[in-house]
């Protein structure tokens, strides 16, 4: 029974990851079309033209992946064949694993048995995410090197420098969050955001750590190598950067790792700053609105509401990232490094120091 439960939660975590990734493909294509005022993907218009725009589901969800998977896989003649094959796996695999520690709901009670809605209940959850995200660099750097192409190589080198630089800002943002909640466990952090401030406002992390939120979001976008930080693949300078020499299914794996990184940034911001699976005023036995109005809700419905709330928040932040990606121009390389080292790093350090001092002064405000 325990085995079935852990298998089930792991399956749900993996499905969340895959679904977000696939849906992001659609959101990005149709969203960019919306932003740039063009039609975009235009096959399979559902609901007979009743919607204001064409959904284009066949293009994005069926034709695109099929085309990528069945295309010829070209390996450059002078490439290092083994590493060229290995790099896409290195890029995708660790990112999949991050979803193992993401809590997508509170406990689900079935027949007196409490199921924690998280694939792996790891006490160092935040560190695990940080470790897996930092391992994602290898795909970029190895892929760039193994292709034996100048463009790909420059992209790989840029990517590794950029990701190491922004990992520090990201780590500092996470440190201040950890100081606030006094735990590294993502599930406990999500639970700690269930209370209310002054009886009205949900006590989400964004109200305690607004600066850390901004830092984490910027550093996260830089980690996912997207505009305005897409220098590793800057198409106007480097063709396609580290993935220039990749085609077919291997390229689609790099693309997938890109989308998973977007999803991870959204998941992290949701879990750390926007209450994770919390629905405002919803507790385990139902809604408790301020003013003493209570509505009882069955346990299963509570769980479904929590998972829905989690997914909605994740998609909102995915959409914000796509909005940023299609609105901003690319930074110059020196601007990128200056932003990471001279702005985000000092702000992050100051935020950690301020959090620590405040936490000591207002003892009891932090975990312990």
């Amino acid at each position: 029974m325990d085995l079935i439960i852990s298998f089930g939660t792991a399956l749900v975590a993996l499905l969340i990851c895959l679904q977000v990734t696939v849906l992001l493909l659609w959101i990005e294509r149709k969203g960019s079309a919306l932003i740039q005022d063009r039609v975009g993907a235009n096959r399979a218009n559902l609901f007979g033209g009743l919607l204001p725009f064409n959904l284009g589901i066949v293009n994005t969800l069926m034709a695109d992946p099929l085309k990528l998977l069945t295309k010829e896989d070209i390996v450059p003649a002078s490439a290092d064949r083994f590493l060229h094959w290995l790099a896409p796996w290195l890029a995708v695999f660790p990112l999949f694993l991050t979803f193992a520690v993401v809590p997508f709901g509170d406990v689900l009670v079935i027949g007196g048995r409490e199921i924690n809605l998280q694939a792996v209940d790891l006490s160092g959850g935040i560190l695990f995410v940080l470790a897996m995200v930092s391992l994602g660099v290898y795909g970029v750097i190895v892929g760039g090197w193994a292709s034996n192409s100048r463009y790909a190589f420059l992209g790989g080198v840029r990517g590794s420098a950029q990701m190491i630089s922004y990992e520090i800002a990201m780590g500092l943002a996470l440190v201040s969050v950890v100081l606030t909640y006094g735990t590294l466990d993502l599930q406990q952090i999500a639970r700690a955001q269930g209370d209310l401030m002054w009886g009205v406002v949900p006590a989400w992390g964004i109200f305690y750590q607004p600066i850390a939120f901004v830092l984490l979001f910027i550093a996260g976008i830089a980690e996912s190598k997207r505009v305005p930080f897409d220098l590793p693949e800057a198409e106007s300078e480097l063709v396609a950067g580290f993935q220039t020499e990749y085609s077919g299914s291997k390229m689609s794996m790099f693309m997938m790792s890109d989308f998973i990184e977007v999803a991870i940034v959204a998941v992290l911001t949701t879990t750390l700053f926007f209450g994770g699976w919390q629905v405002p005023f919803l507790y385990r036995d139902g809604f408790h609105f301020p003013g003493g109005i209570a509505v009882a809700v069955p346990s299963l419905v509570v769980t479904l509401l929590q998972i829905t709330s989690f997914m909605v928040k994740v998609f909102v932040f995915c959409w914000v990232q796509i909005l940023i990606r299609w609105s901003l121009p690319r930074l110059r390389y020196d601007q990128l490094m200056a932003l990471g080292w001279k702005k985000l790093l000092p702000v992050g350090l100051a935020n950690v120091a301020a959090t620590a001092v405040l936490g000591l002064l207002l003892e009891g405000w932090t975990g312990t």
């Binding site: 290092d80 590493l83 790891l122 006490s123 160092g124 560190l127 695990f128 940080l130 470790a131 930092s134 391992l135 660099v137 290898y138 750097i141 190895v142 090197w145 190589f153 790989g156 080198v157 590794s160 420098a161 990701m163 190491i164 990992e167 590294l184």
Partner: protein, 161 residues
């Protein structure tokens, strides 16, 4: 126990690859593998925090920098070179010393029933408390050492520029 043997064999194999492979990029990647195996050992020993830190710091940052430097210098696959006589002798002597040391340690060690670890062994809280009470001096000395290295790097970079 099965985990230990799998990890042990893999870690020795990847460590040998680090030393013996001709291509420096493969050596660096094998080093990542070796570090990963050590992290798995830590997990098997209930030291989860140390294992995660091992992956973040070594595999996630330091070896990336190694690779970065190797690629920037674009080192060619190593051609076998004779090496200086003294270097060779020194390396052989050091290997022998290390071997004797490990052998002695294995012989002296008394494999017996180990006391079960305390309840929150390896937890972040426990490590933090130890680090900031019992081991405060070594901890602070290490941070001073790191600070010296950082300042040194900045000074060197300034002089070059």
């Amino acid at each position: 126990m099965i985990l230990f043997w799998v990890v042990a064999v893999l870690s020795v194999a990847s460590a040998l690859t680090v030393v013996l492979h001709r291509n420096p990029v493969y050596c660096a990647l094998a080093l990542v593998m070796a570090l990963f195996q050590v992290a798995l050992m830590f997990v098997a020993l209930d030291a989860h925090l140390i294992a995660l830190l091992q992956v973040i710091v070594y595999a996630g940052a330091i070896v990336v920098l190694f690779l970065f430097v190797i690629m920037l210098l674009s080192l060619e696959p190593d051609v076998p070179h004779p090496g200086r006589y003294t270097t060779r002798m020194a390396s052989i002597a050091l290997t022998v010393v290390l071997g004797v040391e490990i052998g002695a340690a294995v012989l002296v060690a008394q494999p017996g029933a180990l006391a079960p670890p305390p309840v929150d062994f390896g937890s972040t809280r426990m490590i933090g408390q130890k680090l900031f009470s019992e081991y405060l001096l070594p901890f602070e000395l290490t941070s001073v050492l790191l600070l010296v290295a950082i300042v040194g790097a900045v000074v060197l970079a300034r002089r070059r520029a």
